[in-house]
């Protein structure tokens, strides 16, 4: 019985690593350089209009996309490997994504925040339904459902902090780092839903069909992290 030949074909495309723009990318720079991954300079400084960049490894290309889209690119196999926040993974919960490594960077939290004036003795008023402004509809619905509350979602992509003051929603669920934006807009963090850090993620089918290449990349990131600890 003969099956397909196991020799790797030479025409295989390079692996694609999806990186998020912005905050996480900055924190990721030292990790990438310790892992010996040098993307084209245009990728990291953000000036370039290009979206796909070569690296010093001819078998690896980098694409730079929005943080939420990293998970989608990896889930559908457009990129085999990526870096994204655990908040994005919680929101989409794609079954095709594995998260084998916690990079420990970009630490922040997904939290509920309310207008300072609404917080009575540290307790929010009880209700069976609540209107929430957020860019995390799935996380928000799940969180309030476990408390027996229906969350009516006002889906925004930014400036969530305006929603309570303009009466779009009574609370918000958002990513909180220092909390200064909340304070500047008269809000207070009342509940932490989850602490999040950035994860190295891989596409399930890619890991099954190219285990050596992807395993080696994961190991490079892992040893880069251990250098930091040491």
């Amino acid at each position: 019985m003969t099956a397909a030949s196991p020799t790797p074909s030479t025409d295989d495309a390079p692996l694609v690593l999806a990186l998020p723009k912005g905050r996480i990318l900055k924190a990721l720079k030292p990790v990438l350089s310790r892992a010996g991954l040098m993307p084209d300079p245009g990728c990291l400084d953000g000036d370039s209009r290009a979206l796909r960049f070569p690296t010093n490894d001819p078998r690896l290309d980098v694409v730079r996309v929005r943080s939420f889209d990293v998970a989608t690119f990896v889930a559908y196999g457009g990129a085999q490997i990526g870096v994204c926040g655990a908040d994005v993974l919680m929101e989409f919960d794609y079954p095709d994504i594995y998260a084998p490594l916690d990079l420990g960077i970009g630490a922040c939290r997904v939290s509920v925040a309310r207008p300072v004036s609404d917080v009575v003795d540290g307790h929010a008023p009880a209700s069976s339904q609540i209107r929430v402004a957020t860019k995390y509809p799935a996380i928000t619905r799940r969180h309030f459902a476990t408390r027996g509350v229906n969350a009516e979602i006002v889906h925004l992509n930014g400036a969530m902090e305006l929603a309570p003051t303009l009466d779009l929603a009574s609370v918000i669920v958002d990513l909180v780092d220092t909390g200064s934006t909340l304070r500047a807009n008269g809000l207070r963090e009342t509940e932490v839903i989850a602490h999040v850090t950035s994860r190295l993620i891989v596409n399930r089918v890619a890991l099954k069909t190219r285990p050596e290449e992807i395993g080696a990349l994961i190991e490079r990131f892992r040893s880069a992290l251990q250098e930091t600890v040491a």
């Binding site: 196991p6 089918v205 069909t209």
Partner: protein, 380 residues
């Protein structure tokens, strides 16, 4: 769609598609090729119905099957019927009822259409075709290996390149998760984290089993290295028993087909949740979807069984395009015997119903590559 427009009649419910000439032909031929290999290995073909009473279709199967099943009421018996989302449970039913007296091991093959509800947001395919085998009444590593080897032969017959089989054992992962001794909510969270290979969450939720689970996560990979790693992990006794079986199956496959690419993932537990032993998922390098899956389960009355189902839709996308029959325009008035002879040579004959002035342009209009005459064939 705007509320002011009538829906287009070409619109189908999401996840249901028309296969057109070329694709439908390729699918049918692919299925026949696969079924031919199954039959040659002594797997006799059966054909259960599309629809059954819910109570018997879902008997003894897991939650996942219930969650994927379309249901309708039978106006005749007033009982709930279900469209099958999977055929394995039907084959198990046939083996336990109509074929209960047949000698074991019983080897059956099947192909047919199934309907699943799909995953929210990803209802890409709701009508799926299955072509598979079930080996019922025997519990051994060689039996597990047999279904893998036969599937590999079928895929190689379809000339699908760089096929790989991922071996896993859901019961092994479940045994380790159980050994963590968590309350049900915590157990479900841990199982989810293991399923997503979320190393950080496994470390946080795994309790005293976290180091074992982390080691298992890291063990996944090509069979030789994965089994070596698996051998060094200190597993609870039940999990160790599953690990030994997994190893035995991988060795049996390697002995029979040393060139077949096999990976091992001890913590994978995807798919229908009825599997109790070694499971396998079929992949091909460069193809972004599973080509099939299978595994060991308990059929009715705890009879041991193992099966594997290929997905012809995925095979169709992975395999090289087929060559269709060449179409020959047969002008009106040509003898039936001449057309018959062309068909015997493997051409598809397209008959003209009336004489035409220019047979060549008529042939082109009808997608024909040739025009036939009494003793000649003109290529256009």
């Amino acid at each position: 769609m705007s509320p002011f427009e009538d829906p287009n009649v070409g619109l189908l419910p999401s996840g249901f598609i028309d296969l057109l000439q070329h694709e439908a032909e390729a699918e049918a031929r692919g299925i026949e090729t696969v079924m031919e290999v199954f039959g040659a290995h002594g797997y006799e073909r059966v054909r259960p119905p599309l629809c059954e009473f819910e109570a018997s279709l879902l008997l003894g199967s897991g939650e996942a099957l219930t969650e994927q099943t379309f249901r309708l009421m039978d106006p005749d018996s007033r009982r709930m019927m279900a469209l099958r989302p999977d055929m394995t449970t039907q084959i198990a039913r046939i083996a336990a009822t109509r074929l209960a007296d047949r000698p074991r091991p019983l080897r059956l093959s099947y192909t047919g259409t199934c309907v699943v509800l799909g995953t929210p947001g990803r209802e890409g395919e709701r009508q799926i075709t299955q072509a598979g085998i079930e080996l019922i009444g025997v519990d051994s590593a060689l039996a597990d290996a047999e279904v893998v080897l036969i599937a590999a032969e079928a895929l190689s017959r379809l000339e699908i390149a760089h096929v790989s089989f991922d071996l896993s054992c859901p019961a092994l992962a479940q045994a380790v998760i159980d050994a963590a001794g968590l309350p049900s909510a915590g157990r479900a969270q841990l199982a989810h984290a293991v399923d997503r290979k979320d190393a950080a969450a496994v470390a946080a939720l795994g309790g005293h089993m976290a180091p074992v689970l982390t080691a298992l996560l890291d063990a996944a990979g090509p069979a030789a290295t994965a089994l070596r790693a698996l051998g060094t992990i200190d597993l609870p006794s039940e999990a160790r028993r599953h690990a030994e079986r997994l190893t035995a199956v991988a060795h049996a496959i390697a002995d029979a087909a040393p060139d077949l690419r096999v990976t091992v993932d001890p913590v994978e537990f995807r798919g229908w949740q009825y599997h109790t032993g070694v499971c396998m998922t079929v992949f091909a390098r460069g193809v972004r979807e599973e080509l099939g899956r299978g595994g060991r389960y308990l059929a009715h009355a705890s009879e041991p069984a193992c099966g594997l189902t290929l997905r012809p839709e995925a095979l169709l996308r992975a395999a090289r395009p087929i060559a269709l029959r060449k179409r020959v325009y047969v002008p009106h008035g040509l003898s039936a015997a001449r057309a018959q002879a062309l068909r015997a040579e493997g051409f598809a004959t397209v008959a003209g119903f009336a004489p035409v002035a220019d047979p060549a342009s008529e042939a082109r209009r009808l997608d024909c590559l040739y025009v036939a005459s009494h003793n000649d064939l003109t290529r256009l």
